[in-house]
Amino acid sequence: MSYRVVHYINQFFAGIGGEEKADYAPETREGVVGPGMALNAALGNEAEIVGTVICGDTYFASDMAKTSAEVLELIRKFEPDAVLLGPAFNAGRYGSACGAMGDAISKELGIPVVSGMFPENPGVEMYRKSLYIIETADSARGMGKAVPAMAKLLLKLLKGEKVGLPAEEGYIERGLRINKFFETMASERCVDMFVKKLKGEPFETEYPMPVFDRVDPNPPIVDMANSTVALVTSGGICPKGNPDHIEASSASKYGEYSIEGFDDLTSADHCTAHGGYDATYADDDPDRVLPVDVMREMEKEGVFKKLHNKFYTTVGNGTAVASAKKFGAEIALKLKADGVDAVILTST
């Protein structure tokens, strides 16, 4: 008996239509459709695509939570052992839909799921922790390479075989750490790597650093005297008692607090939530991290028009880059909506 696999694709790969059909509501078909044919062939006689679920990209993107529940029910009806999604290549909404489905299937059905995307597809950043995503080219020209890799990984997962490292299996790094035992000590491996580097030979790091994006510098403030300036910090300053329980490390949230009426922060009213540095000095005088006292003086002197009446704070201590990025984007939107012209961000 072969494993039952369901395949999810968008309206385009189902041959229904392009952008003009992107609001196509979810539907199911028996057996394979479009790229499912090649995937089914690659699965061989060990697994079979028993059904295909199709959904328009815009339909999915317009209400992701609702649609993923809807599509999940259609998938569930086929009683699958595993699910294949896409591949979505560099199609953003399609990739996000595949990622969201991968996340939902893993959580709700607990069965193996594999997708395929170009590394820059936004679906990768959003969902790479939730599912295996085979790295593909940016367009359907890469179908020939994506199909066997997706099928091979799915079969491994179905049979409960050990999945190798990203480079071995062709999937995009999920950011998961696993224990691995080596024959040689870290010091020796480190020196070996260093010698290879000196010789200009290729070597593979055991701990890749995150890649940070870059933004163009903003134009300068031309009229400071008429500007509103806000304070933001990763140093964990918060009202005394840390009312929102911002974590001392690996923060999962940020705080938004009023400084209306405060000319100075003191140990009586504020403290730090940060667990990564000696908190003595910040707890004694929180202005050492969030300079409210000096900012108030300068506001009164008219150096700038207004100190924004709210400050934003989180703890930058082992905090995931993805979380920090999310906090930053949300805080920036709020500051812009409040008419803030400039920000002083302080870090410990």
Binding site: F212, D213, R214, V215, D216, P217, N218, P219, P220, I221, V222, M224, V229, G235, Y277, D278, A279, T280, Y281, A282, D284, D285, D287, R288, V289, L290, P291, D293, V294, M295, E297, M298, V303, F304, A342, V343, I344, L345, T346, S347, T348
Partner: protein, 66 residues
């Protein structure tokens, strides 16, 4: 935005465009070894530098030293 921070290399790595080096990790805008008025002068100086950085056109990552 201007980033006032002590570990400038981290700020450069994560991509801040205007950077003002601060005093020390546990007290970036203060120095508890100094009397309070002197400490406040240090803080005021750093904030002034931060505001100056915000008013300075930059085309690439720039560290504002004294």
């Amino acid at each position: 935005m201007v980033h006032v921070c002590t570990i400038v290399p981290i700020s450069l790595t994560v991509g801040a465009n205007r950077i003002v080096p601060a005093v020390a990790i546990p007290h970036p805008l203060g120095d508890p070894s100094k009397p309070f008025e002197e400490e406040k002068t240090i803080r005021r100086h750093l904030v002034e530098k931060a505001l100056k950085a915000l008013q300075t056109p930059v085309s690439e990552q720039t560290v504002f030293n004294d």
